[in-house]
Point group: C2
Amino acid sequence: MSVSPPRRRRQKQGEIFMSEITNRFCDSTGYAELSLKQYGRFTGDADETLLPFLTENTIVVYVTGEGGSVKLGASVHTIEPGMVVVLFPGQCVNCSALAGGKSGGMWMELSGDAVPAVLQRAGLTPQKPTLMPTVPAEQSEAAALFASLTDPAQEYGPLCATGKAMQILDCLLRETPRPVQPKVANLQRYYVDKSIRFIETKYPQDISVEDVAEYCGLNRSYLGKLFRDATGMTTQEYLIRHRMKIACSYLERAAAPIAAIARSVGYPNQLHFSRAFHKVFGIPPREWQKRNRKV
Amino acid sequence: MSVSPPRRRRQKQGEIFMSEITNRFCDSTGYAELSLKQYGRFTGDADETLLPFLTENTIVVYVTGEGGSVKLGASVHTIEPGMVVVLFPGQCVNCSALAGGKSGGMWMELSGDAVPAVLQRAGLTPQKPTLMPTVPAEQSEAAALFASLTDPAQEYGPLCATGKAMQILDCLLRETPRPVQPKVANLQRYYVDKSIRFIETKYPQDISVEDVAEYCGLNRSYLGKLFRDATGMTTQEYLIRHRMKIACSYLERAAAPIAAIARSVGYPNQLHFSRAFHKVFGIPPREWQKRNRKV
């Protein structure tokens, strides 16, 4: 699910990028389904008991006060400083500070389909809505980022605030006592989707079927079988088809030389590109362009 | 488009939160339509000329080398250290280092509908794809974040990497010489959407029509007219309708006390809630619950 190892290498002759390049692939996490609604801090007086309430969205709380207890639905949980507590949607929440204690926390309200999945990976579910991170508060990156996000002296735009919220969740995943592997309902679909995302991002570079298999952490022939069963074509065919699709979109719009288009879809050699193009479409690229040019 | 001023105040009796709270509203930026694909660094040798290429997505480059020139489509741009250069999709790109200079940069590849809109706000368009930030490289937050994102010694998960990319864009907006106001095709729709997002996030709190108007920076009666023309109801009616919609979703699922539900949709006083509920649905909340309960 994470980033591919950085590549630092001398590019081969004819490749489109500079002589020395590091390059990291960013896989999808469904972050598009994650949205920050509100955030802030709170403190509560000693012995204060809050009236019960419900929340429509998910609220992630980092406890900074002296602690207390919280009743979420039917279960009571003891709250300690440094703990992470999640209020899940539709649960009735009852909070009270411990006798003599002062409660407090930093919170963010999140919505979106990705939220339960991300929290579940950190081990946080409606059945287990609290956790004590393995990293103490003063060394915790999550706590530092939360403090920065909720700093009343700071003013953040939505892009920045949402970016910080994503980083807080990422830190929580790393500072969690028992990181939970993502549950994959359909392992075949998971690897095929992962391969497709890789191919559809890396096609401009000189990638091979081995690179796709290596990225997925699978044997080449095993991935090949999974891929063929799911899509009806080989990984290599999918890669070529995607390269030709993008080449067509460039041919339709751009006045660029064929050599530049070839290079931009992973063919340093224009002749190899034209041959592959002809094999797929039955005509040379320039001929295809004449018939399909949009501008 | 940005965050509302923080509220730090003593909560009123009966409100659901703690005695002291800071609370920031995070408006939508269409960030859901923004996705980080790849990122990294590059260096080029002196006098090296790159072969032309095209890119499918948008590539944002922060120039760290000694500069050079880039031809984007038909226009040639001089590149200097500290500059931001954007390669827009489908444009033919020709780069060359200046004689004797060493080129280099940090880059990220972005896709999604929000990307052109965000870049346009920083003044970056296909017609004007370069800018020199007002903040020098050594003081630039964008540069520091870019260096952190593309640090080859670091390994980031997709949530963290995407979060950093959003923060880089946010910094660019602030470090840009001529911040461009977002172009709003339909100003009425813009304010109505802004009001709705505010109401649909803040309804659990004791907000009034004045708060909505203040958040939008408009006169109350002017916003009222815009809102009524667009939705056929007053801002107040919309707020009540939204509160009742959420109350119903709680009544359907939860075994929570009516007082807790009332409080969670912005009615500290249960009686006021029941009266408003009856006015909308013609029956009391408990009666509605009996007929519609799902669990």
